[in-house]
């Protein structure tokens, strides 16, 4: 049985950063991922990474912007840490080889981003996530003697030891179908988000909420699950992301009257208000009949106002996306966009070291909820979140591992998981197809758990999700093989997505106010007296989410009215 001090599940930015940090701290490390690390969805992050690095900028300003962006639901101690440590992390990335954009003096240059009071977003064209992910992977290769990589291994369960602590996981080698127990003193979840539970979504097909559901299933609490970010600019055509960098470079949003409607919603920041505000404004325009395109279901994003040469240099990827996936040359004509599911602010509840309340289990990145994003994440803060809390989790896990012996684990869970997988493969073809259930889930979530919500829609969604959970138990697959059986993994992923969706819906029903990404048309105001608190969701014995609350940490910024 492979044994390591620190086991990291997920190899996007948070996972890779955690692995490098844990190795630097002297631990023996394994990093496991169901896809090759450079296929992780961090690769799709386009716009950049925030840090108050310029001499005239301050981390306090960055932190305040983040707190305000979170609609005061973010925990300010964690936000302070993230923003204070951002400049050093950025320089570290520069030193290991990220090819950040330079200004005329050869120093790091920035672009403007939403909800920020200064231009503090550092970037590599509009492939920042890709550049970061590939450079971190270069470092993984450099560390090949100190760090074991399990690429294309699918985690099926987290393992609990005798004392109830997490002692590793059970995983399946996708290529051979072999199942194995991985023993570890500390396990870090870095499995990303759950966007595939919505349809459409900007998220890749791999974003199925694995870590959130696995943690929830072994008793770790989830937090802020109702907070789902709809990105203001996704293609009407297919939900693909158009980076916020476009608006950062000066692009406008126009309604059917050709007006920059953001004037009415955020007169100061206009298109660069925070994402929840812009998405709501767009949806309002669409709902009130001022949308454009087929059925008036979209909004124009006009990039032609950005000098063409600048667009070609700094927004090249979306020039390609416009051309290849919407047939539009964005340097010549506006492109049809609308709000689309993009990010989940909530996740597995952790402290500022990434430690969950379950001993031995850590989480970092989108899977986690520290909570630095609260009700709404600022653009270019997610890359920062993955790296800062990935590193901190790696360091802390290594420290924990240094002070203990390898815990013992049994093969019981392995036998259970083998039985479950064999059971799925052997199911008779009389249930529904996995793909049908996944489709219905995605459509339901996008209809009822989106920009605007109300009790009726949420209750409907809840009923549907409960029904789909039942149907998933008998859903059948076609692949009977062991080598690269993606079909059976899809069935397990569907289970994960349904767990996450249920937690989201329950939390959204619970929060009877409007804050950040949660806008309840039946409770349209923010209500600090009753709801300035986190909603925690844990699994009780009967597979029903149980709601509890935890306080928001406020250090120096009292809640105030939020205007952009």
């Amino acid at each position: 049985m492979p044994s390591h001090d620190v086991l990291i599940i997920g190899a996007g930015l948070a996972g890779q950063r955690a692995a490098l940090a844990a190795a630097d701290a002297g631990a023996t490390v394994a990093i496991m991922s169901k896809v090759h690390p450079v296929r992780s969805h961090s690769v799709a992050a386009a716009g950049g990474i925030n840090a108050a690095l310029k001499p005239e900028d301050t981390w306090e300003s960055h932190a305040y912007d983040t707190v305000k962006g979170s609609d005061f639901l973010g925990d300010q101690d964690a936000i302070e840490i993230m923003c204070r440590e951002a400049p050093d992390e950025l320089l570290h990335l520069e030193h290991i080889g990220v090819t950040f954009h330079r200004d005329e003096k050869g120093e790091l240059g920035t672009r403007a981003f939403g909800g920020a009071s200064a231009a503090r977003t550092y970037y590599v064209a509009d492939i920042t996530g890709q550049a970061l992910l590939h450079v971190l992977y270069e470092q993984l290769l450099k560390y090949h003697e100190r760090l074991d990589r399990y690429e294309e291994w699918f985690t099926t369960s987290l393992l609990l030891g005798d004392g109830g602590a997490c002692v590793g996981c059970v995983a399946r080698d996708i290529r051979s179908g072999r199942m194995e127990v991985f023993n570890a003193k500390a396990t870090i979840l870095a499995t990303g988000g759950a966007g595939q539970a919505w349809k459409p979504t900007t998220n890749g097909l791999v974003c199925t909420g694995d870590g959130i559901a696995q943690a929830y299933n072994v008793g770790a609490p989830l937090m802020d699950m109702e907070m789902i970010q709809y990105h203001p600019t996704t293609l009407v055509e297919n939900g693909f992301l158009i980076t916020e960098g476009a608006r950062g470079e000066g692009a406008h949003l126009l309604n059917s009257e050709g007006k920059r409607f953001m004037e009415a919603y955020a007169p100061n920041k206009m298109e660069l208000a925070s994402r929840d505000v812009v998405s709501r404004a767009e949806q309002t325009e669409i709902n009130e009949g001022r949308g454009v395109g087929p059925d008036g279901a979209g909004i124009y994003l006009d990039v032609t106002v950005v000098p063409r040469k600048r667009t070609l240099e700094a927004l090249r990827e979306i020039v390609n996306i416009g051309k290849d996936f919407a047939g539009v040359d964005i340097t010549r004509e506006p492109i049809l966009i609308r709000p689309g599911q993009h990010y989940i602010m909530g996740g597995v509840k952790t402290d500022v070291w990434g430690a969950t309340p379950l001993a031995g289990l850590y989480a970092a990145g989108e899977v986690a909820c520290v909570s630095v994003h609260g009700g709404n994440r600022l653009g270019a803060n997610s890359l920062l979140d993955t790296l800062i809390f990935g590193r901190r989790a790696g360091e802390h896990a290594a420290q924990r591992a240094g002070a203990m012996l390898m815990p013992s684990s049994s093969e019981a869970q392995l036998r259970d998981d083998v039985r479950v997988i064999d059971g799925i493969i052997a199911r008779p073809r009389d249930g529904r197809r996995i793909s049908e259930i996944k489709d219905e889930l995605g459509t339901t979530m996008n209809r009822h758990v989106a920009v605007f919500r109300d009790a009726d829609g949420l209750n409907t969604a809840h009923e549907i999700v409960r029904r789909l959970k039942e149907e998933a138990k008998t859903a059948y697959i076609d692949d009977r093989g062991t080598v690269f059986n993606q079909d059976v993994l899809g069935a397990i992923e569907l289970g994960y997505m349904l767990e996450v969706a249920e937690a989201v819906v329950v939390a959204a029903i619970e929060r009877k106010e409007s804050r950040g990404a949660q806008f309840r048309t039946d409770f349209p105001e923010r209500n600090d007296d009753e709801w300035l608190k986190h909603i925690d969701i844990s699994r009780n014995g009967e597979d029903v989410p149980e709601v509890s609350y935890s306080p928001v940490t406020i250090t120096r910024w009292q809640p105030e009215e939020r205007r952009y």
Partner: protein, 373 residues
Amino acid sequence: MAEFTLKLRRYDPESGQPPYWDEHTIDLEPHRSVLEGILQAKARFDGSIGIRCSCRAAICGSCGVRINGQPGLACHTHLDKARASSQDGTTIVVEPMGNMPIIKDLIVDMDAVHWKKVQRITPWLINKEPIPEREYIVPHENMVDVTQTMACIQCGACVSDCLSMEVDPLFVGPAALAKAYRFVGDPRDAQQEARLRDLSEDPHGIYDCTHCFKCIDACPKGVAPMNQIMRLRRRAGSDFGIEDRNNGHRHEKAFVTNIRKNGLLHEADLLPDSYGGKLHPRAVPELLDSLPVITTALLRGKFTPAKALRHPHRKEFKNLRGYFDKVEGRDQRLELNLYITGYDEDAEPPADDTQAAPEQGEPGRAPEESPSR
């Protein structure tokens, strides 16, 4: 909506059977991608179809395949274009990539080939010391320059159809060598010369490429791996004086000098000059080796002793040396880059155009049409 026929190359390693063809009719808008077509077939008819994929937007690099024999990303090829390029005009044929072992269906073993080669080029920055307290100060242009190779998503499409690799499986190959340029072109790297020497002296290194352009055609991201290999060669030869053991570099030099001197190619000089001149010790065995060819050429009258000794200089080429002088007189090499650079996009172009923009792209040049579309 329109119907499309997909013909997929399937292989089940557990069946003991050879690969086979599997046809599905799918129903999608014509501008949707081949990947979406395959995913529909998977969702509706057969969940056991194996293909790696995630982002669907040509960013994650998972879905490298061959479509109608051409390597590329399944998510980056429209169904209508794929049908138009199909052999019979109706059936879109999808196969796994080449040059790599097949694991199952459209899934190939990239670890066995692609990632091994990436590992070969020491794929991490070796920092110039001392590491500054803040960022390294480097020219804007250099960062834009290496961004073209940073744009590589490691999909393996270039590796799939690399002809040199087909002949020499040990060839480091287009993707890994493009990655090498990412370090050689990065001013923060301390080992540029050592990297170039290493990749020049390796018989499977940068001089193993035969300029077939297949990788440029295959690349969905405009990385143009062959161009990066040529830039590695130029850096090796011109900036560090590293000799190409294949003689290719000397041959090219002899060619250029020959034209400059004669206006038209003087073939009798070309061979010996490529080995350093008629009297160079390296040239003698080569000339002796070539005697049968020379004899045949003499017998057929391809050239005469008179022509060999006295090549006619053409008067009409008298301007030619001026062109050579002008090009060679430039301070820097002109390198075309995909990522357009510059700040003052709406400013007037500089008065003297010939002085402008070495080492950067043409201002305002549109991004290249991606060939796989």
